[in-house]
C-alpha cells in the first residue's frame, strides 16, 4: 500500500509556479531521495504533503487521508522535519519533546517511554536538560528529528536532515534513517548525492517544479551509461596529442573533454559502434608519448546524471 500518494500537485507564488503537476507515490519500506537544484520546488512539495501549505491544484494523501479534506487525520500520521529544523529556542530539550508529544496525543507512561526511546535512539541524553538555543547545529537537527519521530509515525518527511552537519554527524543521521526505514515511508530532500546512494531506495529528481526522473539510483546511473565508454585522464600538456591519437586509433569514436583539473584533463571516449579496450588504447597512447594518468571504463556518478538531467540545456 502506498502511504504517500501525490497527484498533480501544483503551487504558484505570484508569477512563479514553484510546483508544477508533481506526481509521486511512496510505499512502506521505501526511502525516497528528493533531489533538485535550489528553488526546484522540493520544500514547497514537502510543505504541501505535510499539510502546511494548501496546493492550488492536485492532491496529497497520507495513509489514505487526503491532506486537505482531512488534515488532522493526515497530520497525525506524519512526522515532519521542516527545513532548518526550527524549534522553540527558549525551551529545554525534554520540555520541547514533551510538548510535541502531548500535542501528538501521547500521555503518561506512553509519553515517558517514547521520550526515553528518543533520548537513546537519537543520542540526546547528553543535552536532555539543556536549552535548545545553546545546542550545536548537530544537536538541534537531532532534536528536530526526535520531534518528528516521537509518535512513531508511518510517514516521515525530512527536509534536508543533514544540512550543516559535520561528516560524522551526517553518517550517524544516515544510519538512523536506514535503521527506521523498514516499516515507514520516508521522503528525504537533499542536495548531497552520495546521501541518496547511501540511504535511498529511489531517487526523484525535480527541477522547476516538475519531476524529471523517478527511479532507483542505480537504474538512473545505468540508464546514463553508454556501454564501452572509456575515461582517460592525461596531463593537460598532452591533451591535444591524445585527442588526435584517439581519433586515429578508434576511428569514428567521439572524444569529449569531461573536465580539466590541476593540470590534468579527463577525456571521454565514446565508441560509436567500434569497441576499444582501455588497455589497447592505453598502450597506443603511451607509444605516442602521451602521459596517461588514469584510464578505465566510464561509469557516470549520480552527480553526472543529476547535472545532465537538471541543467537547463540538458536532455529532458
Amino acid at each position: 500500500m502506498n502511504l504517500i500518494e501525490v497527484k498533480g500537485l501544483t503551487k504558484t507564488f505570484g508569477e512563479n509556479r514553484a510546483v508544477d503537476g508533481v506526481d509521486m507515490t511512496v510505499a512502506r519500506g521505501e526511502v525516497v531521495g528528493f533531489l533538485g537544484p535550489n528553488g526546484a520546488g522540493k520544500s514547497t512539495t514537502m510543505k504541501m504533503i505535510s499539510g502546511f501549505l494548501e496546493p492550488d491544484e492536485g492532491s496529497a494523501a497520507v495513509c489514505g487521508h487526503d491532506v486537505q479534506m482531512n488534515p488532522i487525520e493526515a497530520k497525525r500520521n506524519v512526522g515532519y522535519l521542516p527545513e532548518g529544523a526550527p524549534a522553540y529556542s527558549d525551551m529545554v530539550v525534554t520540555d520541547f519533546l514533551e510538548f510535541v508529544g502531548k500535542l501528538r496525543g501521547l500521555r503518561g507512561g506512553g509519553l515517558k517511554d517514547r521520550l526515553a526511546d528518543m533520548a537513546e535512539q537519537i543520542n540526546l541524553t547528553e543535552v536532555w536538560d539543556q536549552q535548545i538555543e545553546n545546542l550545536s547545529k548537530g544537536y538541534k537537527r537531532r532534536v528536530g528529528i526526535a520531534q518528528a519521530l516521537i509518535h512513531d509515525p508511518d510517514v516521515l518527511i525530512l527536509d534536508e536532515p543533514t544540512d550543516g552537519l559535520d561528516p560524522n554527524q551526517k553518517h550517524e543521521m544516515r544510519s538512523l534513517i536506514r535503521s527506521i526505514a523498514a516499516d515507514k515511508a520516508i521522503i528525504v530532500s537533499t542536495h548531497i548525492l552520495e546521501e541518496v546512494e547511501a540511504v535511498c531506495s529511489r531517487a526523484i529528481i525535480i527541477a522547476e517544479g516538475k519531476v524529471l526522473a523517478d527511479e532507483a539510483p542505480e537504474d538512473l546511473t545505468a540508464k546514463m551509461t553508454v556501454p564501452n565508454t572509456i575515461r582517460v585522464a592525461v596531463t593537460s600538456s598532452s591533451a591535444e596529442e591524445a585527442v588526435s591519437q584517439v581519433a586515429a586509433h578508434a576511428g569514428k569514436a567521439e572524444v569529449e573533454v569531461l573536465e580539466r583539473l590541476n593540470g590534468s584533463t579527463a577525456l571521454l571516449v565514446k565508441p560509436n559502434g567500434r569497441t576499444t579496450q582501455p588497455g589497447q588504447l592505453a598502450s597506443k597512447l603511451q607509444r605516442a608519448k602521451v602521459e596517461v594518468e588514469e584510464i578505465g571504463l566510464y561509469r557516470p556518478s549520480l552527480e553526472d546524471v543529476f547535472r545532465q538531467i537538471t541543467r537547463p540545456e540538458g536532455p529532458r
Partner: protein, 248 residues
C-alpha cells in the same frame, strides 16, 4: 471537543511558561506595577484626594494597556513566523483556532497576573479607609476585560506581519484610536462626512467610555459584551490572518 480543549490547554501552558522563561515577565510585571502605582500616587494624587477609592489608579489603565498589551502581543505570531516554528506547530494535528485561542488566553492570563500583582493597592485603601470594594472588584474585572481587547488587537497585528516593531506600532495606534473614539479628536474626523449613525457607532467603540462605566461600579452587561465581542472579532481575524500569511 475535549481534544480541542486539551490542545488549547497544552499550548496555553507552554506559552504561559514561555513568559517566565525570559526576564520579559519580570520586567513587564515590574513596569506595570511601578507605572500604575506611581502614576496613581504622584500624578493623580492618590493621597491628596483624601478618598478611599482606587479611581486614580484605574484611570491610567487604558493608557497603560494601550502600550503594554502591544508589547506582549507583538511577538505571539511574528516570532513564530520569523523563527520558522510556525511550520512545526501547524503541521501538528491541531487547528488554527485552537492555537490562536491558546496563545491569546496565555497572554491574557499573564495580564491577570500583572493585575493581581497590584492588589496591595487594594489592601492599602482598605487599611486607610472604607472603600466600596464592589466598585473596586468591578474595576479590576473591567480592566482585565479591556486589557484582553487590547491584547487581541495586538496579536491580530502580530499575525499580519513578521516584523514585531511594526506589529507594536500599528497595534498601539489602533489601540489609541479605540481609546479616543469617544473624543472629538477622533469623532471630528468622522462627523464631517459620515451619517449620524456611523458617528454614534464610532463613539460607541470608545474603550474609555466603556471602561469608565465599569470603574463607576456599574457592571453593565453590554459593556462586558462589548469587550468580549472585540476579543472574539479580533481573534477571528487573527485566525484568518494566520492561515493566509503563515507561509510568507
Amino acid at each position: 471537543m475535549s481534544t480541542s480543549l486539551q490542545t488549547i490547554g497544552i499550548v496555553l501552558a507552554r506559552e504561559f511558561r514561555g513568559y517566565f522563561a525570559t526576564p520579559l515577565a519580570a520586567i513587564f510585571l515590574a513596569v506595570f506595577a511601578a507605572l500604575s502605582a506611581g502614576l496613581a500616587f504622584f500624578v493623580t494624587g492618590f493621597f491628596d484626594r483624601g478618598q478611599a477609592d482606587l479611581s486614580s489608579f484605574f484611570a491610567w489603565h487604558p493608557w497603560l494597556f494601550m502600550i503594554l498589551m502591544p508589547a506582549i502581543g507583538m511577538r505571539l505570531w511574528a516570532e513564530e513566523r520569523r523563527s520558522g516554528t510556525i511550520e512545526l506547530l501547524m503541521t501538528l494535528p491541531v487547528r488554527t483556532w485552537e492555537l490562536v485561542t491558546a496563545k491569546f488566553l496565555a497572554g491574557w492570563a499573564f495580564t491577570g497576573v500583572a493585575l493581581l500583582a497590584t492588589t496591595p493597592m487594594w489592601f492599602t485603601v482598605n487599611y486607610l479607609g472604607d472603600p466600596d470594594n464592589g466598585v473596586i472588584a468591578a474595576s479590576y474585572i473591567g480592566s482585565w476585560l479591556m486589557a484582553g481587547a487590547f491584547l487581541a488587537l495586538a496579536t491580530c497585528m502580530s499575525a499580519l506581519t513578521k516584523n514585531q516593531v511594526i506589529a507594536f506600532i500599528v497595534a498601539t495606534i489602533a489601540g489609541f484610536l479605540l481609546v479616543m473614539a469617544g473624543f472629538d479628536l477622533v469623532l471630528a474626523t468622522v462627523r464631517d462626512w459620515a451619517p449620524v449613525g456611523l458617528t454614534e457607532m464610532v463613539q460607541s467603540l470608545s474603550f474609555l467610555s466603556h471602561f469608565n462605566r465599569l470603574t463607576q461600579g456599574v457592571i453593565e452587561l453590554p459593556t462586558a459584551v462589548f469587550f468580549i465581542s472585540m476579543i472574539v472579532l479580533c481573534l477571528w481575524i487573527n485566525v484568518q490572518a494566520v492561515d493566509l500569511k503563515k507561509a510568507q
